[in-house]
């Protein structure tokens, strides 16, 4: 009977275990309280914020949490632990030299860690101006595909638009592409982003000051190669009517004698065809030559590679104050950060939702229309937030 006892013993143990099985758990997720401080721009007095909308976007879950705030006291906020991008928009009233102003205010912070129960967060606020004269109306950076499915590059272009009421001149305008990638966030040392943009390729529109007028509501097209691309790719289009033309790397450059060329300041503007880079348009200060700019703004930055070895790169700075318009580009699936100060552009736009998206070819990013004046002049949307200002994956305006 000893074996029976043993058997019963085993049965008793397993029996108790199985009766407890299959109870559903109430799963809970850790949350943290966020203590918020908003710091207005220095020098403003009697600051009063109102109609402030705070959006916390969690990057792991993709969930947006929106909070409203009236007055200067931030709301009590509790969020699931995660990594957040915080954007803030609202109205502000302030006094400066005894004059009252009523303006729009913004704040932006990327990569905010919320974890560990309580988090304190300081968001610097900045004022912004919605009235830039010259803006990027459209950037076509993806190129086209041939009927055989091969990439074709020569037909990329920029369109710069006069969004103001005055005639403006494109002479001396600098178009620059970022040296960094919006899909690879790095701790660059030094970090100059709050005061300057780090350009890779830079080109300048030639002219003595009044050679390239842009009338209100008009545009200029800066083409990679201002030729009829249909000769090379039936899926492409004719760019012979472009106002200006880039000079590319010798092997892929052609020169249409009837279209003036831009001056290459640094490298060649080949334009990243997956849109991993941001673009700015700006101007050197009066009296600054290209050589002087390069002499005064060369800097060496470094970052630590994943194996621990530092890498040093020589580059240039382009001060934020010289920048007229900026557009951040990225790809939703691999976006990591924006490459400009949020004052210049707080958002980003794209062609292609994943890296190497084959749907991106023949698509561009186009600035949305805000309104049309009674005189027919179209005013484009320019809130310094490309996410909102641009139509992503749009049909290129020059494509028939």
């Amino acid at each position: 009977m000893r074996q029976i006892k043993l058997l019963l013993c085993i049965l008793a143990v397993t029996g108790t275990v199985f009766t407890t099985a299959c109870k559903k758990d109430g799963l809970t997720i850790r949350q943290s309280a966020v203590g918020l401080t908003l710091t207005p721009p220095a020098g403003l007095q009697n600051v009063r914020t109102s109609n402030v909308v705070l959006v916390f976007k969690e990057s792991n879950s993709g969930v947006d949490s929106t909070f409203h705030m009236n007055g200067n006291t931030p709301p009590a906020i509790t969020l699931p632990d995660g990594s957040y991008e915080v954007t803030l928009e609202g109205d502000v009233e302030y006094e400066l030299d005894d004059v009252k102003y009523s303006r729009k205010i913004r704040g932006h912070k990327q990569g905010v860690a919320v974890s560990g129960g309580t988090v304190t967060l300081d968001i610097p606020l900045f004022l912004y101006d919605e009235t830039a004269g010259l803006v990027f109306k459209e950037i076509f950076f993806t190129g086209t595909v041939t009927p055989e499915g091969k990439q074709y590059n020569g037909d990329k272009y920029f369109i710069i638009y006069n969004n103001s009421e005055d005639t403006l001149y494109a002479d001396g305008l600098v178009i620059a592409e970022a040296a960094f990638l919006s899909t690879t966030k790095r701790e660059y040392d030094p970090n100059v982003m709050p005061e300057a943009f780090t350009p890779g390729a830079m080109v300048m529109i030639p002219g003595k000051g009044t050679e390239h007028p842009i009338y209100p509501g008009k545009q200029i097209v800066v083409a990679n190669n201002a030729i009829n691309h249909k000769e090379y790719n039936p899926n492409s289009f004719d760019l012979r009517k472009s106002e200006l033309e880039l000079t590319l790397l010798g092997s892929i450059n052609v020169d249409n004698p009837e279209v003036p060329d831009l001056v290459n300041m640094n490298g060649f503007m080949t334009m990243h065809n997956r849109g991993f880079k941001s673009y700015i348009v700006g101007r050197l200060p009066e009296g600054t030559t290209i050589d002087k700019y390069k002499e005064e703004n060369k800097y060496t930055y470094s970052y630590i590679q994943t194996n621990g070895t530092p890498r040093y790169v020589d580059g240039y700075k382009f001060p934020n104050s010289w920048i007229i318009d900026a557009v951040n580009l990225s790809v939703p699936a691999v976006f990591e950060w924006i490459l400009t100060a949020p004052e210049l552009d707080m958002g980003w736009t794209y062609c292609g939702k994943v890296d190497s998206d084959d749907g991106r070819y023949g698509k561009s990013v186009r600035r949305a229309v805000l309104s049309t004046n009674p005189d027919g002049r179209v005013i484009l949307k320019d809130t310094n937030n490309s996410t909102k200002d641009f139509e992503a994956e749009a049909k290129p305006s020059l494509m028939q």
Binding site: E148, Y232, E258, N307, G308, Y312
Partner: protein, 931 residues
């Protein structure tokens, strides 16, 4: 099971075999008797099956296997006196003498002979010769389950198992801690491979497509100037490999790093078949050795097929290898000499295929196919004088002719990324150019036909002077290499790389290369008391004949003196056993001649666009290009010379053996591609000087105004600029096989420290980002720092192997550990010592230069952390191999490499380097049949 074609080839194989046997068989019929018998197992009194029985009559050998119940039969044999014995690892039996004049029965009693297991190695063993040499025999290869020769290198000290990489070139690197991509190809180029005494000569290999295709599919397969591609060598016909890591005899030359001697199977073997499968390849091999009865002659036939993919997910990148070989050996013997003739014919073909995957989304036009066909005829005659006291002990003549047909066929869909100028002038000067066709299928054929002829004659003398025994080797060796191929063939209007600047060249316009050498060596042995000393001292001279006098290398004789010595101490009694100690040392120079491609490189073209007038009206378009040609020849090129020094120690006690080698190798004249800059003048035509909108006829180039411009352009030449300094200790401990569990422990490993460095100043152009007055490339910098790194590693491999005969099981486990890897870059502050402006004058690079907004770009930013020593800690992997035999006729084997790994993460510069995870095992199975 077999496809039709395979069935055919088997038929053919047997028919051929019969052709060889049949005539011999009729001769043997004259007088004969059937020799048969039975083997008895002493232990259980039953018949012992599956044992190889050998009947030996003088130098004639006959073999048979015992079947069920221990019965065996040799069939009819010529009458005479036979010694009947058995061969096998697990059994032994006394030799029986049989006088055969009629049918006869023999009975042999066999018993388990575990002591013979002592001679069984599944790892490489250290040879007992004059220099450090690893020997890998058939059994070790079988247990390893290799796909190609590359896999054998795991067994060398410092070796480690690696997954076969059969869709790229496999290079050898002996005694090195690192594997830099380029510039140190001398490692593999300077390792000589000898198959049955004749070299695999790669001097005339020009099969490269690198500058002709934008993204070269041949890039990782390119063997030009890199020596032997080991994936082309099958291991199934190999009996034994000797890898001379140390200082080879002067008999062997045209090498710097080492010598691989491959000896192929000869004489009788059973019919063997092998099938291996792993995740990305399938291998089949058949082999058989026949004795031609009564002829003192043997014939061996081998056939192998390998089919592999780069990875299982890619059906369109694959590699196929077919090896076939037929070898005959015939012996004549009388009382004063033994004469041996051997001849062989080998045919091997390898095919690299790469096609466009249909998933690429467009018409699958792109194709790459690189095929090597190698035909080798080898014959040798060796005469050994057996008469006592003869001065000439032997002489030998060996000749080989090998001819290759190499063909690389590439088809590629070329799509202009924008309107592009086509520069294709074959002569220097200014040429009007056209624009390329928007898209087209470009075709390239690279036709190479290297022919190598080899002749070697050698004589051995033997005599005594007082107490010294001399063995003298004297010999001559001639190698001739020439490529009869037509080179790169393509339509110049439809180039594969429209933006490159390559032009075709016919290989047969390149002169042949005649490499003549002689050697003389005296091996002296003498005893001092109970001490025994052996010293081999020799000299080899090598010269390239019939070279143009402009070459520094022409008509010079390069001498390689080499000496090796061994001192065997008298045995030292320790307890029951005797400790045997042998000490050795060696020193030598080793010279490797440049290849045809290095001495006669492709001319270098530079195309500069001068006019680029892309008018809206296609008829009015105009382009002009200035073309410059540099011959690219470096007339100062010399052979690479490696100086080796080594010390050895060998200790043996009770069947346990420890071998140690310290080596130091210094090679400072290795071949590398070096940058050369030259200032070229060209014109920049002004498009605005022609009234484009109002043209009525095509403009002429002369209608345009222009300004003169000049800038630096680079090209590359081969120079003796790579230094490769190797130092290290190699060790191997082999235990005796423990009785009872039949287990042997082997520990081998090495500590290597290798210095890879350039031995010339470096020229570098200024960053292309720097545009000075709209002009690029206006400066070059001269840097005299050492560009390179120290690399080091210490590794040990512990192998435990056991035989469990009762279960028919062989099991081995090896623990391969790299204790550390080290890498340290040589310090430099990134500052050039000199710079050259466009005027061509060298200036010192000074503090003021650093202030110059343009020259400052020549200064490279560096920091101490870049030159810190990086120590990568332990990297351990465990491999297991199991073989189960079924009645000795069939065996199923399985191997798992990296069954487990241990690679801890480490921190460098506050950064965690993740190493764990992401390593998966490599495993496969094999079926072997013997009958």
């Amino acid at each position: 099971m077999f496809s039709n074609s395979k069935r055919h080839s088997i038929h053919l194989f047997f028919t051929l075999s019969l052709l060889f046997i049949a005539p011999a068989y009729t001769i043997a019929q004259q007088t004969r008797g059937v020799l048969s018998g039975r083997l008895w197992d002493k232990e259980n009194g039953r018949g012992a099956d599956s044992i190889l029985v050998i009947a030996q009559k003088d130098s004639l050998q006959f073999r048979a296997y015992s079947a069920n119940g221990g019965r065996f039969s040799f069939g009819p044999l010529p009458s005479g006196t036979y010694k009947v014995s058995i061969a096998g690892m697990l059994f032994k039996a006394p030799v029986k003498t049989v006088h055969l004049h009629k049918d006869q029965q023999v009975e042999l009693t066999v018993e388990k002979a575990l002591q013979t297991l002592q001679e069984v190695f599944i790892t490489a063993s250290e040879a007992r010769g004059m220099t450090s040499t690893s020997v890998i025999d058939r059994r070790a290869m079988q247990h390893l389950q290799p796909s190609s020769f590359t896999d054998l290198l795991e067994l060398l000290p410092g070796g480690r198992s690696k997954d076969p990489s059969l869709t790229s070139m496999n290079r050898i690197r002996l005694r090195e801690a690192g594997a830099p991509e380029t510039d140190y190809d001398i490692s593999s180029l300077g390792t000589a491979f000898l198959v049955d005494g004749a070299p695999i000569n790669t001097t005339a290999n020009l099969q490269s497509s690198s500058v002709y295709i934008a993204s070269d599919p041949n890039q990782y397969r390119n063997t030009t100037n890199r020596g032997v591609d080991m994936r082309t060598l099958s291991t199934d016909d190999i009996e034994k490999v000797e890898i001379v890591r140390g200082i080879p005899s002067v008999e062997y030359g045209d090498l710097t790093s080492g010598l691989i001697k491959i000896e192929r199977k000869k004489g009788y073997t059973p019919f063997t078949a092998r099938m291996k499968t792993d995740g990305f390849s399938k291998l089949f091999a058949l082999g058989k050795g026949f004795n031609v009865p009564g002829q003192d002659m043997s014939v061996n036939v081998d056939l192998g097929f390998l089919d592999s993919k780069s990875k299982p997910t890619d059906n369109f990148t694959n590699y196929k290898r077919i090896n076939s070989s037929i070898r005959a050996e015939k012996r004549w013997e009388n009382s004063y000499r033994r004469l041996k003739w051997s001849g062989s014919f080998d045919y091997a073909t390898t095919v690299d295929n790469q096609r466009t995957d249909p998933d690429n989304g467009y018409a699958p036009v792109d194709k790459f196919r690189s095929r090597f066909n190698r035909y080798v005829f080898n014959t040798s005659l060796k005469n050994e004088v057996t008469r006592l006291g003869a001065l000439v002990k032997s002489w030998e003549v060996n000749t080989q002719v090998d001819y290759q047909r190499d063909r690389m066929d590439v088809t590629k869909w070329v799509q202009a990324r924008s309107a592009t100028i086509l520069a294709n002038a074959l002569t220097e000067g200014e040429h009007d150019a056209t624009f390329i066709t928007p898209s087209y299928a470009a075709e390239l054929l690279v036709d190479g036909r290297p022919l190598n002829a080899f002749l070697k004659a050698k004589m051995n003398l033997g005599f005594r002077t007082s107490a010294i025994t001399h063995d003298v080797k004297l010999g001559l060796e001639t190698n001739y290499s020439k490529n009869f191929g037509k080179g790169q063939i393509y339509d110049l209007t439809y180039p594969m790389n429209p933006t490159g600047s390559a032009r075709p060249r016919a290989f047969d316009t390149i002169p042949g290369m005649l490499n003549q050498s002689f050697f003389a060596e005296d091996m002296m042995t003498f005893n001092v008391g109970r001490h025994k000393v052996a010293t081999a001292a020799g000299l080899r001279g090598m010269s390239l004949l019939a070279m143009d006098r402009q070459y520094a290398i022409a008509n010079k004789i390069y001498l390689d003196p080499r000496i090796n010595t061994r001192w065997t101490l008298p045995g030292i009694r320790t307890g029951q056993h005797t400790l045997m100690v042998t000490l050795g040392a060696g020193f030598g120079l080793h010279t490797k001649m440049p290849t045809l491609d290095m001495l006669y490189p492709n001319p270098k073209y530079t195309d500069i666009v001068q006019l680029n007038f892309y008018h809206n009206n296609p008829d009015y378009r105009k382009a002009n290009v200035a073309t410059y040609v540099a011959d690219g020849i470096n007339y100062h090129l010399k052979p690479a010379v490696n100086r080796k020094l080594e010390f050895n120690g060998d200790f043996e006690l009770n069947g346990n053996r420890l071998s140690l080698t310290y080596f130091h190798e210094k090679l400072t004249s290795g071949f590398r591609s070096a940058s050369r800059y030259r200032v070229l003048d060209y014109k920049i035509y002004d498009n605005a000087s022609v009234d484009a909108p109002n043209l009525t006829a095509p403009p002429a180039t002369s209608d345009f105004d222009y300004r003169d411009a000049r800038q630096f352009f680079s090209y590359s030449v081969t120079a003796n600029g790579s230094a490769l300094i190797k130092e290290g200790i190699e060790f191997q401990f082999v235990s005796r096989r423990l009785t009872g569990i039949n287990t042997r422990f082997t520990v081998n490993g090495a500590w290597f420290k290798t210095n890879y460095v350039n031995s010339f100043p470096l020229y570098k152009g200024i960053s292309s980002n720097v545009i000075i007055d709209g002009k690029q490339s206006q400066y070059i910098g001269v840097y005299d720092y050492q560009d390179g790194a120290y690399r080091g590693q210490l590794n040990t491999n512990l192998t435990v192997d056991s035989y469990l005969p009762v279960l028919g099981l062989t099991v081995s486990a090896s623990l391969q550990n790299i204790w550390f890897r080290m890498e340290q870059y040589h310090y430099n502050n990134g500052t050039p010592v000199q710079y050259m402006g466009i005027d061509g004058i060298l200036h010192p690079y000074t503090k003021e230069s650093l202030e110059d907004p343009n020259l400052v770009w020549l200064k490279e930013t560096t920091s101490g952390i870049l030159f810190q020593k990086r120590l990568v800690p332990i990297d351990l992997q465990g491999n297991v191999k199991v073989t189960k035999e079924f009645k000795k006729k069939a065996a199923v084997s399985m191997f798992v490499n990296r069954l487990f790994t241990y690679t801890p993460d480490y921190v460098f510069n506050n950064t965690i380097n993740r190493r764990s995870g992401f390593s998966s095992p490599y495993f496969g199975m094999e079926l072997n049949l013997n009958f």
